[in-house]
């Protein structure tokens, strides 16, 4: 193993396996795994209300993580960071707490056709409950969104716009700044789904024009079970709580309760302090690698992979022709071969990819493909893996019984 970027990832030390399913979940470096274990071995306790050393230290660790995240995405204040389980929960929190209370019949919600189901179904729900319309910004086959689409699909009665910063299928970055500008012009709130951008590019919620921003720990090398919701203070403060229970109240009587200020108001029940500590460690780790290195390596790997696919007859890939706009993700198909069969066959070569619709059915319909295979790489992947992948891909059709 000569790829030093794999050093901290024990699971990747066995060169037999090629892990190309990073858009689904990344691997965790030992620094993250150890930070979690260390928490349990040294200061484990229930944070927030403790009056003893461990609990004070757990609280500090938990709140340090919040501050670190705030700084990582350019939030104004740590209290704008709410810990959730994952992006999906963050988006549902917005939908239930902001959506159902601020959107009504006659209003409009706009999303893009590139959305992951997690940034679609919550808005379908709000649309159904409130009677508001749901409008799609469409994209070209390579994932481009035109200025006209942005203007025409965000009409003046729009109350909320939600868009992924990076598509989990095409890897393309959406013109979030333009979308949020239009959203704000018509007085709508802008939600940015950063599940696929936070692992790859620096985030500045202010520059994005994001009123809300969400991401998942597990896609950024943190443990599973911890996610983030960023919301502008003014918005969070005006929103009613979502989950109700311990730790999110000031006082409770038999029939009534006074809620705690943000962020506690939105963190009902015992918090996942160990998860937050793991996420802080992941952020330290990603910074130690550096986003420049990350995108350079991803770009290079994408370029190689795309070039490889181009040499394979019957193979086609989707999205932009240029490797820089793929965020490590290359989605493709091989004619005559169903992506599930492609994935099963590649599995026999110990290559891990995803196949299906990647929780983006409307996008697949829009692109006119029933399903696709997706190779998604991260900075710890390397050229030799891409080469092995391409070699295997070349043989897929013959393994599936075709003469050529």
């Amino acid at each position: 193993m000569t790829n030093v970027f794999k050093n901290d990832f024990e699971i990747l030390h066995d060169d037999k396996y090629i892990y190309f399913d990073n858009a689904a979940t990344t691997q965790r470096p030992r620094q993250v795994i150890n930070a979690v274990s260390e928490f349990y071995r040294t200061i484990n306790s229930n944070p927030l209300r403790g009056l003893y050393k461990w609990s004070v230290e757990s609280t500090q660790a938990y709140e340090n993580s919040r501050r670190k995240i705030a700084e990582f995405i350019g939030a104004k204040d740590a209290s704008e960071i709410i810990f959730t389980r994952n992006s999906t929960e963050s988006l549902n929190l917005i939908a239930y707490s902001w959506g159902l209370n601020n959107i009504k019949k006659g209003d409009n919600i706009t999303v893009t056709i590139l959305e992951h189901h997690s940034n679609l179904l919550p808005w379908q729900m709000v649309s159904k409950v409130t009677g508001a319309s749901l409008t799609y910004i469409e994209c070209s086959p390579d994932g481009e969104i035109s200025d006209e689409e942005i203007i025409s699909r965000i009409p003046s009665n729009t109350k909320l716009v939600s868009a992924a910063e990076v598509s989990n299928v095409l890897g393309v970055r959406l013109p979030i700044e333009k979308i949020s500008k239009r959203a704000h012009k018509v007085g709508a709130v802008m939600v940015v789904d950063g599940a696929q951008s936070a692992p790859h590019i620096p985030i500045d919620v202010k520059a994005l024009g994001a009123d809300f921003f969400v991401f998942s720990g597990h896609k950024i090398m943190a443990p599973m079970g911890i996610g983030v919701l960023y919301g502008k203070s003014e918005l969070l403060e005006a929103m009613p709580p979502f989950l109700h229970g311990g730790e999110m109240i000031e006082s409770v009587s038999r029939y009534d309760a006074v809620y705690a200020p943000v962020p506690e108001k939105f963190e009902a029940g015992t918090v996942n302090a160990a998860g937050a500590v793991g996420l802080a460690a992941a952020i330290d780790y990603i910074k130690s690698i550096g986003f420049d290195t990350i995108s350079q390596r991803e770009e290079n790997l994408c370029r190689l992979l795309i070039e490889g696919i181009k040499t394979i007859p019957y193979a086609e890939y989707y999205g932009s022709k240029s490797a820089e706009t793929h965020s490590g993700i290359v989605t493709f198909n091989i004619e005559g071969c169903h992506p599930h069969d492609v994935a099963s066959i590649l599995d026999t070569e110990n290559i891990c990819i995803r196949a299906g619709q990647h929780c983006a059915q409307p996008l697949h319909e829009h692109l006119g493909i029933p399903a696709s295979a997706r190779a998604s790489m991260y900075f710890y992947n390397d050229e030799s893996e891409v080469e092995r992948f391409i070699e295997a891909l070349k043989k897929v059709r013959s393994w599936l019984g075709y003469e050529h």
Partner: protein, 147 residues
């Protein structure tokens, strides 16, 4: 059998050169089956005579090799059999996929037995059973979309 062997020895042939793919004009029963997670869609058409014997059966639609091949093999097995026999075969197949089939059951599955190793590819089980579930419904519910 490892995955590549399953493909080579059984799936590919049935997928690329199915014996029972097509449409018939006067089916007794017709039903669509969908496997939403992979977008597979299959249509089964059955012609069953007054004695309950499956005279002819075909499938159409698109899907992965596993679902297509499994469907073709299934039809191989049940054409000419009675409704009851087909039900029995289906039960045996479902049990085999769960790794619970008896020796006897494996026997009546004939060529379909080769799909037993699909059980080691849990994500593909849904593909393998798509046709079978659809046939099961036809047999159990006697549903007539057309007559």
């Amino acid at each position: 059998m490892n995955t590549k062997d399953i493909y080579r020895e059984i799936i590919n042939e049935h997928n690329l050169h199915p014996s029972h793919k097509g449409e018939i004009n006067d089916p007794s029963y017709e039903l669509d089956g969908v496997n939403p997670s992979c977008g597979d869609k299959i249509k089964l058409q059955f012609k069953i005579d007054e004695n309950g014997i499956i005279e002819d059966a075909v499938f159409s639609g698109s899907g992965c090799a596993v679902s297509q091949a499994s469907c073709d093999i299934m039809l191989d097995l049940v054409i000419g059999k009675t409704r009851d026999e087909a039900e029995k075969i289906t039960e045996a197949f479902m049990r085999m996929i769960k790794g619970e089939a008896s020796e006897e059951e494996l026997e009546i599955l004939e060529e379909a037995e080769a799909l037993a190793d699909i059980a080691h590819m849990p994500a593909r089980v849904k593909c393998a059973v798509l046709g079978w579930r659809t046939m099961e419904k036809i047999l159990k519910e006697n549903r007539r979309e057309t007559l």
